[in-house]
């Protein structure tokens, strides 16, 4: 049986695809954020959250300030559908050391050949664990982390799903107060990850 949030994700994905087709990368959210800050703090502050600058600072699609979850290639916490790390540029599965791995978890080179250690033997698999539930939990000592809400943006010509790693903690990874964001059940956004869907936008 599929989880309700998966159905929600699929609907959101379809909706986002339509939305992304109709808008540019300087999205509605970006404009809304800039407008709000322009009112509060003047144009100098607003300039700091222009979508293009914010994307350059963090990663494409994420214009708000919550930091990325810890990952093999910080701050690019790119994940697969199950929350395991992927290489930020190639999208291939990587282990926790950041090495591209095959389906059995062995580190491989650019040609898919298994890497050998200095003793000439094939390197054994290293841990490859979920960014939110395993990485963030261990690195930041939070036991209640769950991958929950998500939203969608158009990045590099494809739909990007931005995913919240949520906790009951009132502090987020940045060290300041956390926001509810797309988390539910009393949890708030602790850090963020992303999943590139491959769907054109």
């Amino acid at each position: 049986m599929r989880r309700p949030e998966e159905a929600l994700d699929r609907k959101a994905e379809r909706l986002s695809a339509k939305l992304a087709e109709a808008t540019t990368r300087r999205s509605f959210l970006g404009r809304l954020g800039a407008a709000a800050l322009a009112v509060a703090g003047g144009s100098a502050v607003a300039a700091a959250v222009k979508p293009e600058e914010a994307e350059a600072f963090h990663f494409c699609g994420h214009i708000w300030t919550t930091g990325s979850c810890p990952s093999p290639y910080p701050p690019l916490a790119r994940i697969d559908r199950k929350g395991y790390p992927l290489h930020p540029s190639s999208g291939r599965p990587i282990d926790n050391l950041g090495r591209v791995v095959d389906s059995a978890g062995h580190a491989v080179d650019g040609n898919g050949k298994r890497l050998v250690g200095p003793d000439g033997r094939v390197l054994p698999p290293a841990p490859r664990t979920r960014i939110c539930e395993d990485w963030t939990r261990e690195v930041h000592g939070l036991r209640d982390l769950r991958t929950q809400g998500s939203w969608f943006r158009c990045c590099g010509g494809q739909i990007r799903k931005l995913v919240d790693c949520c906790s009951f903690s009132r502090r987020r990874i940045n060290g300041d107060a956390s926001l509810v964001g797309y988390c539910w059940g009393g949890r708030r956004v602790y850090c963020v990850m992303y999943y590139d869907s491959g769907l054109p936008c």
């Binding site: 810890p70 990952s71 093999p72 290639y73 910080p74 282990d95 926790n96 050391l97 950041g98 090495r99 059995a104 978890g105 890497l115 050998v116 250690g117 200095p118 003793d119 054994p124 698999p125 290293a126 841990p127 490859r128 664990t129 395993d134 990485w135 939990r137 261990e138 690195v139």
Partner: protein, 428 residues
């Protein structure tokens, strides 16, 4: 500024002492904060690789101070604001003066040494040591105030005497900067000195054995090398050497080559402490760490793991065995006390790859790798703080096998690109 801290300006001798104390505290604190902040920035932006840049900067500064180069110095040519002592209460102006001078860059810089220290703190990327070093800078600033008073002399006179010795001080500064340049230049060596090209180090009674990548083992004793061809994975125990050859594990007297024991079959990765030997055996579906008494022949399986879980080279010392087990979900370093059979996880992680433990009677060493970083960790077996002996911030080089003695740790570093391995030594 020193003439400010007199009984006349402060109001009384007690208030003068109070002002000096506040000044000192503020100078030390602001300098320490600056050092910590710089190191923190260094850690965030990855300035750990900037050590050679800091070394070059120290060299340039030495040349500048020696008069060989003319380079402008970034500085604020201001002095502490005099009006503060008229407008502000004593704790505030004394603290403000101390903080301003302790922070360094807010006032006039007579020499370029301060900026070399800043670059070094950035490159160090470790807030606590950087804060401690910079605290000394702050203490030095305060010393000009406190020292003349302690000797009962006038502070202004003392400063003038110091100014009269400026040429000698400048020469000392040049020598100091040149020394810094050299020390920073060799800093990577200080973080582990190269011992030999190869892997799998093993140390006993001051003798070192390691495997070479041409498929041989070398034992180095007092500068004399003994070669064992067609061998790998050495383990030294006094005059005995265990190594892996085509037929399993062979134990020999390494000075004469006489065979003492033989373990056939698929045994590998031995660790010898006569008469015990721990090693790994591989089967179709499992890997095992086995402990054998070579005198009695008694054999005991310490751990069995299903593939693809990796069991690393065990380390056997002082009645304990340590090994690593890692798979795609978790990695752990396990320590077993042979006499009692009790075992505990010294370290466990679902994120890091923890491997290659090495033991002495009191300590345990292992490697810790994740996301482009690698550390060499050391801890007392009884527990307590985990100490970092070595660190690398690269995806191109990784740690491999280790060895540990009471005075030094040995670790293999290898290049993922070329596969070349080198044994490094780290002082404890």
């Amino acid at each position: 500024m020193v003439e400010t801290f007199t009984p006349a300006v402060c109001g009384s001798r007690t208030r003068q002492r109070l002002a000096a104390a506040i000044f000192t505290l503020a100078a030390v604190a602001s300098a320490a904060l600056l050092g910590a902040a710089l190191a923190l920035v260094g850690a965030v932006v990855g300035a750990g690789r900037a050590v050679p840049v800091a070394a070059a900067l120290a060299l340039l500064a030495a040349a500048r101070e020696a008069g060989l180069l003319r380079l402008p110095l970034p500085q604020s040519r201001r002095q502490v604001p005099e009006r503060w002592r008229f407008e502000l209460p004593l704790p505030l102006w004394a603290g403000g003066y101390g903080a301003g001078l302790g922070a360094g860059f807010l006032t006039y810089q007579p020499v370029s040494t301060f900026w070399v220290a800043c670059a070094s703190a950035l490159a160090l990327a470790r807030p606590l040591p950087a804060a401690l070093c910079f605290a000394l800078f702050g203490a030095g600033r305060a010393l000009t105030l406190v020292w003349p008073r302690r000797r009962g002399t006038d502070a202004v006179e003392a400063v003038e005497r110091l100014a009269a010795r400026r040429p000698a001080l400048l020469r000392a500064n040049v020598a100091g900067l040149a020394a810094c340049a050299v020390l920073l230049g060799v800093a990577p060596v200080a973080h582990g000195a190269i011992v030999a090209a190869g892997l799998d180090p093993s140390v006993s009674l001051g003798n070192l054995a390691w495997a070479r990548q041409d498929g041989s083992v070398l034992v180095r004793s007092n500068g004399v090398d003994t070669l064992f061809p067609a061998a790998s994975a050495p383990s030294l125990d006094g005059g005995l050497l265990a190594y892996v050859d085509g037929d399993g594990i062979r134990v020999v007297r390494w000075r004469t080559g006489d065979q003492v024991a033989r373990i056939g079959g698929n045994a590998s990765r031995p660790s010898l402490e006569w008469p015990r030997i721990a090693y790994r055996t591989d089967y179709d579906r499992t890997r095992r760490i086995v402990l054998r008494n070579l005198e009695t022949g008694r054999r005991r399986t310490l751990v069995r793991a299903y593939r693809p879980t990796d069991l690393g080279r065990p380390s056997l010392r002082a009645g304990r065995v340590a090994w690593h087990a890692s798979n795609r979900a978790v990695s752990r370093i396990t320590l077993l006390t042979i006499s009692t059979g009790t075992r505990r996880n010294v370290a466990r992680s679902k994120v890091a790859l923890l491997r290659h433990p090495a033991l002495t009677g009191k300590r345990i060493l292992w490697t810790d790798e994740r996301s482009g970083r690698a550390w060499l960790r050391l801890q007392r077996i009884s527990g307590g703080r985990v100490r970092t002996l070595g660190r690398m911030r690269t995806r191109e080089v990784g740690y491999w096998t280790t060895a540990l003695t009471r005075r030094a740790a040995y670790a293999t570093r290898w290049s993922l690109r070329t596969g070349r391995a080198t044994v490094y030594r780290y002082g404890l």
